[in-house]
Symmetry: C2
Subunit: 198 residues, 2 copies
Amino acid sequence: MGITAKGRATRQRIVEGAAVHLRSAEPGSLTLDDVRAITGTSKGQLFHYFPGGKEELLLAVARFEADRVLDDQQPHLGALTTWTAWRRWRDAVVARYRAQGAHCPLASLLGQVTTTPGATEVVATLLEQWEGHLRRGIVAMQADGLVDAELDAGRHAAALLAGVQGGVQVLRSTGSSRHLEAALDLGIDRLRREPART
Amino acid sequence: MGITAKGRATRQRIVEGAAVHLRSAEPGSLTLDDVRAITGTSKGQLFHYFPGGKEELLLAVARFEADRVLDDQQPHLGALTTWTAWRRWRDAVVARYRAQGAHCPLASLLGQVTTTPGATEVVATLLEQWEGHLRRGIVAMQADGLVDAELDAGRHAAALLAGVQGGVQVLRSTGSSRHLEAALDLGIDRLRREPART
DNA sequence: CGCTTCCTGGACTCGTCGGTCCAGAAAATT
DNA sequence: AATTTTCTGGACCGACGAGTCCAGGAAGCG
């Protein structure tokens, strides 16, 4: 019945191994043989733990990576209640993606999953949580009178998230973090100056 | 010697046919047989016109599509000299990507090209031109006194481009144009209110 | 018309990769 | 200890798709 501790360990090893491969120089397209090689497992095990085959495996890895994305921005992202926190968050994002360079594990991953409901769901969830953190941060700042209460928090959170996403994408293509930094700096700065309206 | 008119026509037919396929429901991965089927050509022709094989073909299609991206934003993008022009440009971008929905031909295309210098070059060029238009628009507005002259045009152009890119990406994942619109509207609005600084 | 060059078609090869299958080792359970 | 379940290894298969090759048709050219 069910699964043993050993089994769970192996499954975990597979997911993490695949993730490691994605972070390597040339992730290109991840093949099951790649996973086998890096994790020291056999085809049998792969299909034992992921009966849905490659797709199920990749989706598991995608979820794993999606969690990392947010984790890497903590603890700042979870407590954007002061300008200092925003600043630290900004730095963490820039640092993370600059270090990552052209290799966005999630991106190269999702490029391989045939556009299936599962894949979009992973992305949607990630974006939702991310934006939620930003929005709650803005609201908290408003509650403390640090940001104009009139400002539409949801709208600004959405725009900021878009800026970050786009900045990262440009960074992946050109290698420069200029756009990411501009989007972050101007986006955060915008929160300060909103009261100047009319 | 060289190439005849007939040959050029065939080559063009191949590129455009491939582009059509990418715009269809399930572009997934474009195979040479797909191209063959849709363009009524043979393997021989494909390799005759693209000796570099699939990669060279895909790159040609990518360049073709990249041009379309900017063309679809004209004439507005080329003459962002009034607030009305900015508004129209904004609407054109939203309309284009909303219509396109989850299918970004360029994105699904570049996902298939093994990260080669050629691929990044296409993207880099596109982004560069795009940003150049935005920057020149801001500068023009500054010259006419419609935008604060102190404002860093390059920085704002970069942030705006990032917002658009990210907005489109979110739209591709979630189907909602909320982020794209927020990024555009707040980004453009920011140009108006900059003088409020300090 | 003869000759060269370009264009077209499609059969064929060959590597890759996801997925299947089953035999047997290792644990758990009684 | 017996038996049942879970775990592991790897040989094997079949599909698919990129790229090769060459024979033959069309078009330019003296």
